[in-house]
């Protein structure tokens, strides 16, 4: 039993003689009618996440369930559906396959591809510190492929961080947590997703609530690549406001100055991703991939 599963088993509260089940227990009770081996793996203000066995192919899957406390809020419910529909329309080797959202017995959820051998990039970085240049660039390249596909389909991620990147032992990378349609009328949803993103990965426009586009995702990719190569994010603090101030006033140290073994050409590519003005970043994920590929030639040369 996972720690979280045992945690919520203890969390059922007692009122008089009756035990009131927690939201997670209620969700598990509903989902267990369709899925086997449910295990709660993550719980935050927005969603409950389980791994389970089931579906048409009877394989391991992830279930993302809208927190029942938010389900009564029409705006939050709408956002959950917008996100799940946006993710469901994406088909790419580097994007986690996601079902359309479903509702059953008042529970709103979607089913997401899951491979037990995958490791969250966050956990890998936490354990390994920085990665080899080639390994980091391979991951960034695959994330860019995923973004390129999503952007072409009119979907932005806007919550890109090592928490939603999954890496298999052979380096195969899957991006989860998509996304939201680019449509201007969804600016409120863009802002809501940006609000959930850790400040270290948020572009200036995301941090300030300004209009976001594909290039906002490229900033987050730059912050991740910076971290993969240096074990540091461009601006670090647990105070989001402080990160934002620093981000507006300063330019981060180019990563090759922190990690001398990193070719300057790759550092230049990362710094272009991290430009404050989105107009100064790469115009697309594909353009970044070309630049990264050229910079990597210096490694081989």
């Amino acid at each position: 039993m996972s720690n979280l599963t045992s945690q919520f088993k203890k969390r059922g509260t007692t009122t008089g003689h009756a035990v009131v089940p927690t939201a997670a227990e209620q969700a598990q009770a509903v989902l267990s009618k369709w899925f086997k081996a449910l295990q709660l793996t993550q719980m935050d203000a927005r969603a409950l996440r389980f791994t389970a066995q089931g579906g048409s192919a009877d394989v391991r899957v992830q279930l993302e369930v809208l927190q029942p406390s938010l389900a009564a809020d029409a705006r939050q419910r709408e956002l959950f559906y917008l996100e799940a529909f946006a993710a469901a329309k994406l088909t790419h080797f580097n994007i986690a396959r996601t079902s359309k959202p479903q509702e059953t017995e008042g529970l709103h959820f979607c089913v997401i591809e899951y491979k037990p051998e995958m490791c969250r990039l966050r956990d890998r970085l936490s354990r390994n510190g920085w990665l080899e240049v080639d390994a980091a660039c391979d991951i960034a390249d695959q994330v860019a492929s995923a973004l390129d596909c999503a952007h072409a389909a009119g979907v932005l991620h806007l919550q890109l961080s090592p928490d939603c990147i999954w890496v298999e032992p052979n380096g195969w990378t899957t991006v989860a947590g998509f996304g939201i349609e680019r449509a201007p009328q969804l600016a409120w949803a863009h802002r809501e997703r940006a609000r959930r993103l850790a400040a270290a990965y948020a572009s200036v426009e995301q941090a300030s609530g300004a209009a976001c586009d594909e290039r906002s995702d490229l900033y987050s990719l730059g912050a991740m690549l910076y971290e993969m190569l240096t074990d540091r994010v461009p601006f670090d603090s647990d105070d989001a406001e402080y990160v934002r101030e620093r981000q507006l006033q300063f330019t981060p140290a180019p990563p090759h100055l922190i990690s001398p073994e990193l070719p300057e050409a790759i550092s230049v590519v990362i710094m272009k991703l991290l430009e404050k003005e989105k107009e100064n970043r790469f115009a697309s994920a594909a353009e970044f991939q070309v630049a990264l590929d050229e910079a990597r030639q210096t490694l081989k040369g």
């Binding site: 390994n128 105070d239 402080y242």
Partner: protein
């Protein structure tokens, strides 16, 4: 030893300076850039300050290593020299090969010729004085006079004075006001912030070959930050001992309890603080900045 137990290839927290273990913080990068700019642009006098154990010497050596053969760096790290000993060391490092009977005017003249020749050939000469806060006023005045070797627009000798924060007080002495006026660039090495401490420990573990750089848990890192006040030399000492204690206790993770034990053993907490179980730590550590 603990190396094998923690999967390390070498000691991660050795106190011996090793360029591979230079953890570059923002202030380190600023010092490197300032020294390089000052030397490249013949700016004259540069002052670098920082607390004891902050890595001033290490970073100065790193700055020197970035220069090519066109820069002759003369490094003086002993503040307890007489003026005669200082000049002896200086002319020796410049390879002037002067006879022992040389007079001071002759020596200064030879030095001036050499500096001018090097400058004309596009070569630069840098005098780096470490522990400068301890230099007597008279010797600092001699250093000032060396800076009179100049062309109409550029200094022939670049000087870097490096020392503890008391260096500022030293330079405020009325007798040294002329030297102070000649300072063209100033920079300082700051202690590590709490975020940098965590990264610093992970960095050194990784450089030492660790496959898991998360050996110190968050509470342990926080306590190390509080006790060390971000001074790398103290951090190294605590971490090295903590790995030893952890190994003795066969603990795969270094916890706050292990660090507490080390802190007590090294007598690092002021007695009043340990009695109250409170460590007096600065704003830098409480604000998270």
């Amino acid at each position: 030893m603990y190396l094998e137990f923690y999967g390390l290839k070498e000691c991660p927290f050795s106190l011996t300076p090793d360029p591979r273990y230079i953890f570059k913080t923002e202030s380190h990068l600023e010092v490197l850039a300032t020294v390089k700019y000052g030397v490249d642009q013949n700016k004259g006098l540069i002052v670098v300050s920082g607390e004891v154990g902050c890595g001033k010497t290490t970073i100065l050596r790193a700055a020197l290593s970035t220069f090519g053969d066109e820069v002759l760096a003369i490094y003086i790290f002993n503040p307890f020299l007489t003026a005669a000993e200082f000049f002896e060391q200086l002319t020796g490092e410049m390879d002037l090969r002067l006879p022992r009977t040389v007079t001071k005017p002759e020596m200064l003249s030879a030095m001036g010729r050499m500096l001018a020749e090097r400058h004309a050939a596009g070569l630069r000469t840098v005098l780096i004085v470490d522990e400068a806060h301890g230099l007597p006023t008279a010797l600092l005045e001699e250093i000032r006079l060396l800076m009179n070797f100049e062309t109409n627009s550029e200094k022939l000798l670049q000087v870097v004075l490096c020392g503890q924060p008391e260096l500022a007080e030293t330079l405020n002495r009325p007798q040294l006001r002329q030297l102070k006026q000649r300072i063209s660039l100033r920079c300082g090495i700051k202690p590590l912030s709490i975020f940098e401490i965590s990264k610093y420990i992970r960095f050194r573990l990784k450089q030492a070959g660790a496959t898991n750089v998360g050996l110190f848990d968050n509470a342990a890192v926080k306590l190390i930050g509080q006790v060390s006040q971000g001074i790398p030399r103290i951090i190294n000492n605590i971490c090295d001992n903590a790995l030893l204690y952890g190994y003795a206790a066969t603990s795969e993770v270094i916890t706050r309890e292990i660090v507490e034990e080390v802190v007590r053993a090294l007598d690092l907490v002021p007695p009043s603080a340990s009695e109250n179980n409170v460590v007096d730590f600065g704003n830098e550590f409480s604000s998270g900045r």
